[in-house]
């Protein structure tokens, strides 16, 4: 998921022990009572750092996530598809912007967060390190990736940090069309020519497993989940969400007449859920380490945009300074 713990933890427990126990206790009580924590409120340093890491990782995912779809924006096959895709990618830019601003209330600047991304210190969702090879991938991303993201984001509207929760309310409201437009593309492809149907199946084949990996490592291998859940920064476990995603998505694939590429996927009457096959966690951790198929392309694109845009940002600042000097002269 965009917010799955991908970075290293920062030895924060040692820090906590030096904090005033009364303050920590009062803080924990407020969070346990589902109160919102606001920027100027006292908070444990570990909470602040975890939030900065999670929110900025979420923001980076939105921004890097523009690139795989942007790859097909200039080739969108109809005027309507082009307008919809442009609006969707623009939303992602907006969501990245809201999230960076939410993180900035924690005392870290956007430039610092962007620098952490560009130097490889910060992570973003593993899913965006896979290439978009055909137009059907745009459908699959909307259907699967946005579908998975929304499951994680809806509960975050009640996350304990006020600015993050408010950003998520806006994000969720705006994203409600994203998954639907993706599924609509898949429906058109599946009802289309044999070539189109084959593209749709191929897209599902390639995006299925990376989509399941988006939910993060299994719960028994997700060391900081418990603390994040106690702090209401995370509200459901990785495995719970993954199971929910599989249960919801299988009938949607059936409706399209597409086959999910997992021979172990079958309904388990006793559990009331679908069983599914083993996930290749080796691949997941490799992608987290930056070894995804197009990780280098994604980072290069973001770095170049930032570096090549520096003169524009500088020029606007210089103009503002000149205007101010003229006004006071």
């Amino acid at each position: 998921m965009y917010t799955t713990e991908l970075g290293k933890t920062d030895g924060s427990l040692a820090q906590i022990s030096q904090e005033d126990p009364a303050l920590v206790e009062a803080f924990e009580a407020r969070v346990a009572a589902d109160e919102f924590i606001e920027p100027k409120d006292w908070m444990p340093e570990a909470y602040r750092r975890t939030l900065v890491r999670q929110i900025s990782q979420h923001a980076h995912s939105e921004i890097v996530g523009m690139l795989p779809e942007g790859n097909w924006l200039t080739r969108a096959p109809s005027l309507r598809r082009k307008a919809v895709l442009l609006a969707k990618i623009q939303d992602e830019a907006g969501h990245g912007l809201y999230l960076y601003c939410a993180a900035e209330t924690l005392g870290v600047s956007r430039a610092e967060m962007i620098d952490a991304l560009h130097t490889g210190r910060a992570k973003y969702s593993t899913i965006f390190n896979y290439p978009t090879l055909t137009w059907a991938d745009i459908g699959a991303i909307g259907w699967l990736v946005d579908g998975a993201a929304i499951m994680n984001q809806v509960p975050l509207q009640r996350t304990s940090y006020g600015p993050y929760a408010r950003a998520m309310v806006r994000v969720c409201k705006e994203e409600s069309f994203h998954q639907r437009q993706g599924y609509e593309i898949m429906m058109a492809m599946c009802a289309g020519t044999p070539d189109q149907k084959a593209m749709a199946q191929d897209a599902l084949d390639r995006w299925w497993w990376p989509s399941l990996m988006m939910f993060g490592p299994p719960d028994d291998n997700s060391p900081n989940s418990a603390q994040s859940m106690r702090w209401r920064i995370k509200r459901d476990s990785n495995d719970e969400l993954r199971q929910k995603f599989v249960d919801i998505t299988k009938p949607q694939a059936d409706h399209l007449g597409l086959e999910i590429p997992d021979k172990d996927l079958k309904w388990n009457e006793a559990r009331g859920h679908y069983d599914f096959g083993a996930i290749d966690w080796e691949e997941f951790y490799a992608v987290v380490r930056g070894e995804g198929p197009v990780a280098k392309e994604r980072m290069k694109a973001r770095r170049e945009a930032w570096e090549q845009g520096a003169w524009v940002r500088d020029a606007a600042d210089a103009h503002e300074a000149k205007q101010r000097a003229r006004a006071s002269a």
Binding site: G70, L79, L86, D195, W311, R313, A316
Partner: protein, 265 residues
């Protein structure tokens, strides 16, 4: 967008359809091709906020293109809708001005192109709102508010980059220099438009030049930039004689519908 498909029975029967069709292609293709260029920026703009601004302009333009091209298809009455016209014409059948097909270059060149085009389009739409063809008047009335924003935003950037750093000023000079030769074509009146102007359907573009030049001088003065001078402009877009750039743009844009002609997307 296809819901906006304009029914053929509302066309103006008194208009010469060939000229009318051509005129609508000119209006629609200008917006379509410029939108296509702006989408190339998506995910790569100098700041996140600029990515959002450029996408907004692109969305306005593709809306205009859809309305004009669907109307063109209805006027032509041969079963072609906006998509058919956008994705299945060859470069020589496109009627956009040369300016909009110019490459993005850097952000200065993109803003120079946007400023020149949007300023001219604003003058045009302000008059087209009074067109005797009600459908054109309606599209222009919707578009004029969008275009006013585009022209203002681009002018803001011309001033900031012109009056920013030495580097931004140099880049702005180069960007304007690249685009300047295509200005004349924006105000060209040919036989296609002459007849429509007489009927009050089209606008006499040549009459818009004065206000355009005045706006240009004022913005360039604010930016502290010199106006480039050219003995004569380059033209040909309105007759389908384009720059080398359009073919590449269309090869990308039309790739899917051309490769899979039977597919519905």
């Amino acid at each position: 967008m296809n819901r906006d498909f304009f029914p053929a029975d509302t066309r103006t029967d008194s208009a010469p359809h060939g000229a009318m069709f051509d005129y609508l292609l000119r209006l629609g293709d200008d917006s379509l091709i410029l939108c296509q260029r702006l989408t190339e920026w998506c995910g790569h703009a100098p700041a996140l906020e600029i990515d959002l601004s450029l996408a907004n302009i692109g969305l306005d333009l593709i809306g205009q293109a859809t309305l004009f091209l669907n109307f063109a298809g209805a006027i032509e009455d041969r079963g072609r809708d906006g998509d058919r016209l956008a994705f299945h014409r060859d470069a020589s059948d496109f009627r956009n001005c040369l300016l909009v097909e110019q490459p993005n270059g850097d952000f200065a060149q993109t803003m120079a192109r946007q400023f020149l085009f949007s300023t001219a389009q604003l003058g045009l739409f302000e008059q087209l709102m009074l067109s005797t063809e009600p459908r054109i008047a309606e599209i222009a009335a919707k578009g004029v508010k969008e275009v006013r924003y585009h022209a203002d935003l681009a002018a803001d950037w011309i001033v900031r980059l012109g009056d920013g750093t030495d580097e931004s000023r140099n880049r702005m000079v180069v960007g304007l220099d690249w685009c300047w030769r295509f200005i004349d074509e924006l105000f060209l009146v040919d036989d296609v438009e002459a007849g429509l102007i007489e009927q009050g359907i089209a606008v006499d573009r040549s009459a818009l030049r004065g206000a355009f030049d005045a706006r240009l001088s004022s913005v360039l003065a604010d930016a502290g930039l010199p106006a480039p001078v050219y003995p004569r402009g380059v033209r040909g877009g309105r007759a389908g004689r384009h720059s080398e750039h359009l073919g590449h743009l269309l090869a990308t844009m039309q790739h899917l519908p051309r490769s899979y002609p039977d597919a519905v997307w």
